[in-house]
Symmetry: C2
Subunit: 389 residues, 2 copies
C-alpha cells in the first residue's frame, strides 16, 4: 500500500471492489460475448420516457428544484402505491433519490453509523454491505439455505443475529441474486421482532414486480405495516422501466422524518434533475404495458435458461420465485471467481461469480435472464455444452 492510499480513511480504502466488475473487466473484450453478468436488461429506456426528459429540457427546466422531488412525481408515486397495494399513504412520504443505491445510502445514514450493526440475509447484493461498512457500521450476514426446492430464510436465525448493537434489518425481497422471495409469514415474523426490539427495517423491494406465476407483485411490508412505522422502503426506476443508466430511485419513509431525509439529500447530491423526474413520472403513469412486457420476457427467459441447464445433471438450481436472475451451481466447481472467468473465456457467456454476493454465494453463478430470447437461447446452449463437455 502506498503512502497516499494509507493516508485515506480506513473505511474508504477498505471498501471492496465489486467482484462482478472484476470478472467483467477480465472478460469484456471476448468476441461473441453474451453479457449476462450485470443486473440490467438489453432494452433501452422506452421512447415515451426519454421523450419526457427531452421535452422538459426543451422547456428550459434546468434550474434547482425541490430537494424531496417535484410534487407531481411524488403524487404519482403515491398513486402507483395505491394501485399496487390498495393503501393511500399520501405523497409526503416519497422522496426522489439519485438511484436506488442512493436511497440505500440515505437509509443507512438515517439509522446506522459507527459501530452499529445491520443484519441481512446473504447471498445479497454486495452494495448494501459495502454502503454500511463505508458508513462505519457492521454488516452482519445471515445465511439463506439452498436446497432443491430453492433458497429459504430461517427467520429465527436472522432474529438470533440481532444484538444490542443492531439498529436495522435489511431485507431484499425478491432477492438479488437468489430470487428468494419472502412470504407474508416471514415478513410478519421480522416485523414483529423489529417492533419488539425497536429496530428499523430497510425494505428493498426493487424486484417486487418481477415474480413468477402471473402474480402482480411480491408480498411486501406495505401489506402488513402501518405508514408511520420504522420502515424505510428503497426502490428504483431502473429495473421496471429499463432505466438503469438514469440513476433515479425513491425512498418511502414516514413523513414525520421528512426534514431529516431532505437534509441528507441536500448534503449528498442536492436532489435529482427536474427533467429526469418528468421522465420518471412518465414511467409511472404510462409504463404498465412496457413493464408487463418486461415481466413476460423475463418469464420466457427463465424458461429458456432452465430448460437448457436442466438437461445436464451437473447444474444445481431451483426456479427462482422472483427477480430476474438464475443463481446456479455446477457440481464439482467450488471457486466461482475462477469458474466465471473460465466460462467467459471458453464460451463467451458473461456470468457474475457467486462470491461477489458474499461468502454464502460461493460455488454459485448469477445469470441475468432479462434479455432477448435469441441471446438467451445461444447463451444457454453454450453453457449446457460447456458443462456437459
Amino acid at each position: 500500500m502506498t503512502d497516499l492510499i494509507a493516508s485515506l480513511r480506513d473505511e474508504a480504502r477498505m471498501a471492496p471492489e465489486s467482484g462482478i466488475v472484476e470478472v467483467v473487466s477480465f472478460g469484456r473484450e471476448r468476441a461473441d460475448l453474451i453479457p449476462l453478468w450485470v443486473g440490467e436488461g438489453d432494452l433501452p429506456t422506452p421512447e415515451f420516457i426519454a421523450r419526457a426528459a427531452s421535452a422538459s429540457l426543451a422547456r428550459g427546466e434546468t434550474f434547482y428544484t425541490h430537494q424531496r422531488g417535484i410534487p407531481v412525481l411524488r403524487q404519482a408515486l403515491a398513486d402507483y402505491h395505491l394501485h399496487q397495494f390498495g393503501k393511500d399513504w399520501g405523497a409526503e412520504r416519497y422522496f426522489v433519490t439519485g438511484s436506488g443505491m442512493q436511497a440505500i445510502q440515505i437509509a443507512v445514514r438515517l439509522v446506522a453509523g459507527n459501530g452499529d450493526e445491520v443484519v441481512y440475509p446473504s447471498p445479497a447484493w454486495p452494495n448494501l454491505p459495502a454502503a454500511l461498512e463505508i458508513a462505519g457500521a457492521r454488516a452482519i450476514p445471515v445465511p439463506l439455505t439452498f436446497a432443491d426446492d430453492g433458497w429459504t430464510l430461517d427467520a429465527d436465525r436472522l432474529i438470533a443475529a440481532v444484538t444490542p448493537r443492531t439498529r436495522a434489518i435489511y431485507l431484499n425481497s425478491p432477492s438479488n441474486p437468489t430470487g428468494w422471495t419472502a412470504d407474508r409469514d416471514t415478513l410478519q415474523a421480522l416485523l414483529g421482532e423489529a417492533r419488539r426490539r425497536g429496530l428499523w427495517i430497510i425494505a428493498d423491494e426493487v424486484y417486487s414486480r418481477f415474480v413468477r406465476g402471473g402474480l402482480e407483485r411480491a408480498p411486501s411490508f406495505i401489506d402488513i405495516a402501518e405508514p408511520d412505522e420504522r420502515i424505510l422502503y428503497v426502490n428504483t426506476f431502473s429495473k421496471n422501466w429499463a432505466m438503469t443508466g438514469w440513476r433515479v430511485g425513491w425512498l418511502s419513509a414516514p413523513p414525520e422524518i421528512g426534514q431529516v431525509v431532505e437534509n441528507l439529500i441536500q448534503y449528498s447530491t442536492s436532489g435529482v434533475a427536474e427533467f429526469m423526474q418528468h421522465a420518471a413520472h412518465a414511467a409511472l403513469t404510462d409504463g404498465e404495458a412496457f413493464l408487463a412486457e418486461q415481466v413476460r420476457r423475463a418469464d420466457l427467459g427463465l424458461e429458456i435458461v432452465t430448460t437448457a441447464l436442466g438437461t445436464t445433471a451437473r447444474a444445481r438450481f431451483a426456479v427462482p420465485r422472483g427477480a430476474f436472475y438464475l443463481f446456479f451451481g455446477i457440481e464439482g466447481e467450488a471457486d466461482s471467481r475462477a469458474l466465471a472467468k473460465r466460462i467467459v473465456s471458453e464460451t463467451g457467456v458473461g456470468l457474475a461469480p457467486g462470491i461477489a454476493f458474499g461468502a454464502e454465494g460461493e460455488g454459485f453463478l448469477r445469470l441475468c435472464f432479462a434479455r432477448s430470447p435469441t441471446d438467451l437461447h445461444a447463451a444457454a446452449a453454450r453453457l449446457r455444452d460447456w458443462i456437459a463437455r
Copy 2:
C-alpha cells in the same frame, strides 16, 4: 422530539436545515419577488448543451456506464485543465460525480470520518460543514476578517487551528459567500503546512472562472502543486454553464487512489447518466463563449448592485474579488435571519441571511448578482430605498 425521530442516528437528525431555504420558504410567495437568495443565475442551460443530452437519449444511451465517467468526458476535463492551467495531468485523475456536492461528499468520505477534524475559513457554504458532521467528523471554522478593503484570511490562524485530529483543510476560493479569493502566497502557505503535517486539502474551486478585472481565472492549487499530492479538487458544471439543476460535477484526485474513488461512487449513486455526461462534454468543448458572457454579465451585475448600495452610507461591503455574490451588512442590523425576512416582506428582494453561512456570517446578507441587469436594477433600487427609508 418524537420517538421516530429520536430513533434516528444522531448525526442524521442533527444535520441542520438550510438557513437559506428557511428564508426562501418564508418569502417565496411574495408578489414581485426578485429572488437573489440562491446560488444560480436566471439563464437556463444553453440549448447546445441540452441538445447533446437529448441526442444521447435518442441514441438509446440509457444503460449502466463507466463508474468513473465516460472516457470522452474525462479526456475533455483533462483538456480543459490543460488549457486553463498549462498542465497536462492526464484523464485518469478525473471522476465524474452527481454534482459538486457529491464530489465534496466523496472527498469527505475519502479523508475524514468519526472524530476527525477538518478546518476551513468561515463564512462558508453551509453544505460543507453539514456533510462533515453527517459523516461523524467535526467541522472547525476559522474566521475570515471583514474590513473596508474586503475579507481576509489569516493563514497563520487557520494553521493554528490544526490539531492532531485534523485530517484536511477545506478551502473554497473564490469563496461563497464572501468572494474572498486566495492569492498565491496564501495557497503556498497552506500547501506547505499541509505537506509538513501530512494533511489533505479539499480544494473547492467552483467559482474559479468568476473573477474580477478581466482575469481568466483565480489562483489555484494546481498552479503550485504536483499531480500526486494529497489534494482533492471538487468542482461542478453548475455555475460556469448554467447547469445548476443537472447535478453533475467532478472530482480531480491522484490517479493512484482511483479505485477507492470508484468504489465510493459505486456505493453512493453508481455513476452519472451517460446522456448527462454528453451534455457536460458539450459544455466543456463548446461552452467558452457562453461562460465569457456569464462572467461579463456578472461583472455588470456587480456594478449595478454596488453602485446603488454605495449611495447609502448604511450599507457595508467591499467589492468581492471572485464568485458572484455581494456579501453585505446594513449598519444597525445584527440579526440577519430577521433582516432577510423583513427585506423580502417589505421589498420583495430575496436575500440569503449571513448566519446561514456560519456564526462568522451573522450581520451580513448574501445577494447573488448572476442575473439580468433589469432585475438587478430593480432589486438594487428597492434595497437602496429601503435602507435609506
